[in-house]
């Protein structure tokens, strides 16, 4: 290794190293590969980014719903000890009940939320096909898609939610 022999050279070398961008932080993070991350990589964006392979139909969804969801959300999504999943009365004021069909701006949120958080006692227990099927079933109950439609990575982001334009960005200067 070259050893600088005068103070000026030493200062110059230290300066070059310290401004290289590598010497400032501990660099103790371990590089993460897509394969290592796969089990956690579950975010879905509104344009469909992140949606996995697989698909599901409303009739498959109805069967899964009866077995795993109806005990809290009621038969046919009518609500029970937890939120109802059908209903589309217009939002008028703060006492209007926010439902999927009258409020949620994007259908992708349904897939994202079911997959990460449901069923409440067994999150992450559903296969991607089952999540697609439940998403299709709930959208169909709300007549946002037809009874025989299939949901997958291509069809789901195309579902237009009725309240997409119902929002005002509160602090646009902070985005």
């Amino acid at each position: 290794m070259y050893m600088p022999r005068c103070a000026t050279c030493l200062v110059l070398v230290v300066f070059l190293v310290s401004t290289s961008g590598l010497a400032q932080t501990p660099n103790l993070g371990k590089p993460l590969t897509p394969d290592e991350l796969a089990g956690w990589d579950i975010n879905i964006l509104p344009d469909g980014t992140g949606l996995p392979a697989g698909s599901g139909t409303t009739s498959e969804g109805a069967r899964i719903y009866s077995a795993k969801c109806a005990m809290c959300h009621g038969e046919n999504g009518k609500g029970g000890t937890n939120a109802r999943l059908v209903g589309r009365e217009p939002i008028k004021d703060m006492e209007s009940e926010k439902t999927i069909a009258n409020f949620w701006p994007y259908a992708t949120t349904l897939f994202d939320y079911i997959r990460r958080a449901m069923p409440w006692r067994q999150p992450r227990s559903l296969s991607n096909d089952e999540v697609y099927a439940l998403t299709a079933y709930i959208l169909s109950l709300n007549k946002l898609i037809g009874e025989n439609e299939t949901m997958n990575a291509q069809t789901l982001p195309k579902v237009r939610m009725p309240n997409r334009d119902g929002f005002i960005i509160r602090f646009p200067d902070r985005l």
Partner: protein, 440 residues
Amino acid sequence: MTNPGKESDKRLLNLPVVAGNGLLHRRAFLRGGTALAGAMTGYSLVQSASAQRLVDDPWSLEPGNPVPEYGTRSRFEKDVVRTLTNPKGEPRNQHARTPHHLLNGTLTPNGLHFVISHAGDPDIDPEKHRLAIHGLVKQPLVFTLETLARYPMVSRAAFIECGGNSAPLFSKEPIQANVQALHGLVSCAEWTGVLLSTLLEETGVDSKAKWLVAEGADAPHLSRSVPVTKALDDAMIALYQNGERLMPGNGYPMRLLLPGWEGNMNIKWLRRIQLTESPGMTYYESKIYAPIVPGGKAYQFYFLQEVKSFITHPSPGLAMKGPGFYEISGIAYSGNGSIAKVMVSADGGKTWSQAALQEPVLSKSFTRFRLPWRWDGSPAILQSRAWDEAGYAQPTRAEFVAVRGETSRVPAVTAFPNEHYNAISSWAIESTGEVKHVYA
């Protein structure tokens, strides 16, 4: 009650009143010195009718208890607790509210910090916990708690407030409840950890990245979207809360701290941050924390917790013990930065007196305000109003309702008819000494 025969009390009675119903100058007691302080009565101080000889009580006559490994407060403080909405952990969320009316100062004790858990507090083994940062970065990285502990850290005080704090005040009629029930979903702590910007410097940030989606390791894998500008400004991976590791309910072993921003975004049990071009439109930003405004539209990305204050002493449930001198005190805070000024009224907002602010006044943290008051025993309405350094004033309730609306029915005190309420609170002092929640 004061004794008019004492010299110090005569001096108290001569202090100039600076606003209606007996509000004194904020430095009146500082000027008056210890003799005046000794003449103050508290909310619970009992006056003895006759002289009482001071004696040695049993605890002064024998050695006390062994010192425990981890200290707990006196058994006489057992009633100073959070209130719970779902103590059996039924399949829904849980709320634990801070008893502000029983605390003082600016930092919330760790066991009393408010908590909302959407599916209970996970029991995380810190050795197995990981923080992954990926997406629109140059090099995805994963960190252990052990490696993060070797990074440069910072400490700062910051309040965290649920977007639904103070929601009972959306009610068309004032709900009779104490300050814990009305305003208990905000707390303040000193947080210590690694700035997120330090870690993003190591991963590198793609110029296309405008957002990040942060996710917890809890059962709902709760996720929220945060603008990258906030991440690079003052966001922290918090590891310590008031000097010790985070409490399980506050995100052990690590949480995202976004000073001044909506509590739900300060992701607890943080395990993953994905940098993205667009927000995730997660459940909590699509539905829950999108407050409906009159007419039917809803606010999206209501990130900021705006300037707010409320009086904790006296407050509903803390009865006054007769006319005399009291200290009015309370909490003020703003997501915009430091508190610039707090004014207090004892006549429902007709006249105001400037409160003293307890130093140090810290950005995006609780500021304790105090003002001496000579209550003459007649009805009064106490209010506090805060201004922040950005120039924003806490609105009156009428100003607030004109924009945000109110309910048509009286909701349950634990309900959340809407979010982001920051208007003035009013406490009516009745001649009996009882304190009631009113709109004024």
